[in-house]
Amino acid sequence: MTAPIRTLDDRIRPSDTPDSPLDTQEYFINMGPQHPATHGVLRLMLKLDGETIREVIPVLGYIHRGIEKMGEAMTYRQFVHLTDRIDYLSALVNNWVVARGVEVATGTETNDRIEYIRTIFAEIERIQSHMLWWGVLGMDLGAFTPFLYGFRDRETLTDIFEETIGCRLTMNYIQPGGVMHDLHPNFVKRTKAALAYSKSKLHEYEELLSGNVILQERTRDVGILSAEDAVALGVTGPPLRASGVAYDLRKVEPYGVYDRVDFRTAVGSVGDCWDRYWVRVEEMRQSIHIVEQLIDNIPEGKTMLMKPAKKIVIPEGVYYNQMETARGILGMVLVSDGTSDKPYRIHLRSPNFNNLWALDAMSRGGRLGDLVANVSSLDLVVPDIDR
């Protein structure tokens, strides 16, 4: 039995039911892999009728590095280094997914200090990721200034990473059994200062972009994604919450010390670009709030519980473990044969891959300008889509 294979040729044909009184013809245009609004090597094939979008076909594979396959030839500690490179704006959460997966599988208990440090860093990273997204959204919508403001304010947070971790982007800090190094002596002071600064800057963001009538026009009722569609497409993270589904792993299946802090989940009501915008801005506030609760109470203790020289051998079985990155749920399936210190198979469920497919549902019938707003509001990181 053979199934008919749909090729692109099937899709390239004039519209059967043109809803325009003009005699128009549809055409294809390639947005990417080199395009200013796709932020990387994402390629979108757009079927357009004039400026109206009929279909969006994402084409993947331009930055596929085979990270999952490479993982099969590495020990778990080595694989952590690769995970920095999948979603470079959530490097620490990526590390943490592997670390927690290994810890759960081997039955290792971590102490409070480790979990506090991990949670604080993950939240700081969420803030810096959202700051970058905020700037890039401004740039995509034609306002260049927010881009530089976002990057400027993000610097204060990456400086915190640099001080303790030594890296600004690819951290590989969270390791199975703990974290790489202990905190820098300046960490608490510096983080508090940076949070105070970020808070004041959030107010500036509201004034510069959120309240702007053009931004509101560009995002309100644009790219509406219903809650049903979002769930059906496997959309997670801020886009899912913007559609009205209050699903946040930090609340639903708390890991780290999220069950000990007080924070709220930002939820949208319409599911348009504006809701996705607002949810992220609100998440920055909530993340600041989380770190503020934790920063003064970091307990004492060891920061690495597994001896680095020791082989980590996971009992035979299939393990799944997931966490909330700045963009959605990152899951890791880990298959171990029980004999080797390397995984038999690793699969990552990356948030951007699933979120990307919502683009078509959001953008149909909109304008080209709306598509740019939609891409931006999904906050895609392309290396995470291809891995």
Binding site: I29, M139, L141, G142, F144, T145, I214, G369, D370
Partner: protein, 363 residues
Amino acid sequence: MSAAIVLLTLAERAAASLEVGIWGTAAWLAVAIVAAIGSMSLLGMALVLIERKVAARFQSRLGPMRVGPHGLFQTVADSIKLLIKEDIIPEQADRILFFLAPTFSLIATLLALVIVPVSPTLHLVDLNIGVVFFAAVSGFGVLGILLGGWSSNNKWSLLGAMRAGAQFISYELSLTLCLIVAVLFAGSLQLSEVVASQADGWWIWRGHVVTIVAFVVFIIASTAELNRPPFDLPEAESELTGGFHTEFSGLRFAFFFLAEFINMFVASALAATLFLGGWMPFQVGGWDTFNSVMAIIPGPIWFAGKVAVIIFISMWVRWTFPRLRVDQLMRLEWKFLLPIGIANVLIAAVIILSGLYFFPVGN
């Protein structure tokens, strides 16, 4: 056509004033053309540098700092770079139109530039239909952009060109309506007379609220005409990768770029001339001492100051606002600016016919 008019006018004036015969006139004309091109390039480079420095201030950074003191010669270096770049013409492009497009853009700009009255003496061509001439040549500029998008044979460019066509034709209406308001008040199409009519007070003060509305609409519509953010849809970098000039590089791109910046100057100069009194100093009726102090400042400085303020506002808007969407842009024009413009012209006509002036208007 209009180029011929300008050249003939130039030649006539030169021949009449210099009395050096036809060859002498030709020589002077050559000097004038070189001077015009030189001054235009200088103006363009200065504006680009100012734009970059202003943008840097808004974005809390320094801007160009390396070439010359405070990056003063950065745009000179950039211009040289653009001049010596490889001249790329896409294989599928329509070569003739591809060549003509940037030239048209630049010629339209040059033609608009010559009618700008900088001072009573520094006024290259004082056409008796100056305002109409401006409206005509600014419509000519869109032809370059349309041709540029069409001849590139690139879908992004074509989209940009189509956007440009729709946008410019729409906003031309509002722009012209605002020009009409100023002309109604001044009672002349000649720019020197428009300026002269504002000796007692600028039209923006004397035209009740009507001229203020006209001035604001003029600024908005001219920003759209100039294809500057938040109305930069024809090039919309993040949507169309560069719009109509995606395929242009080197000198041809420089032509478009130069045309855009000079156009900004021309539109600001027109706004200053029609509504802010051109090179006329700020005068208040009855305050003789104040008026005489103001009159000491020479006309060109008044003119430059007014233009600078308008250009600064334009840059301020550019580096603050996001871009509108195509349909929103059209809605703004057809549903808001155009009705306001038409009502404004009618009110202006009523005011002038019934003589309801705040200030005494000569004859």
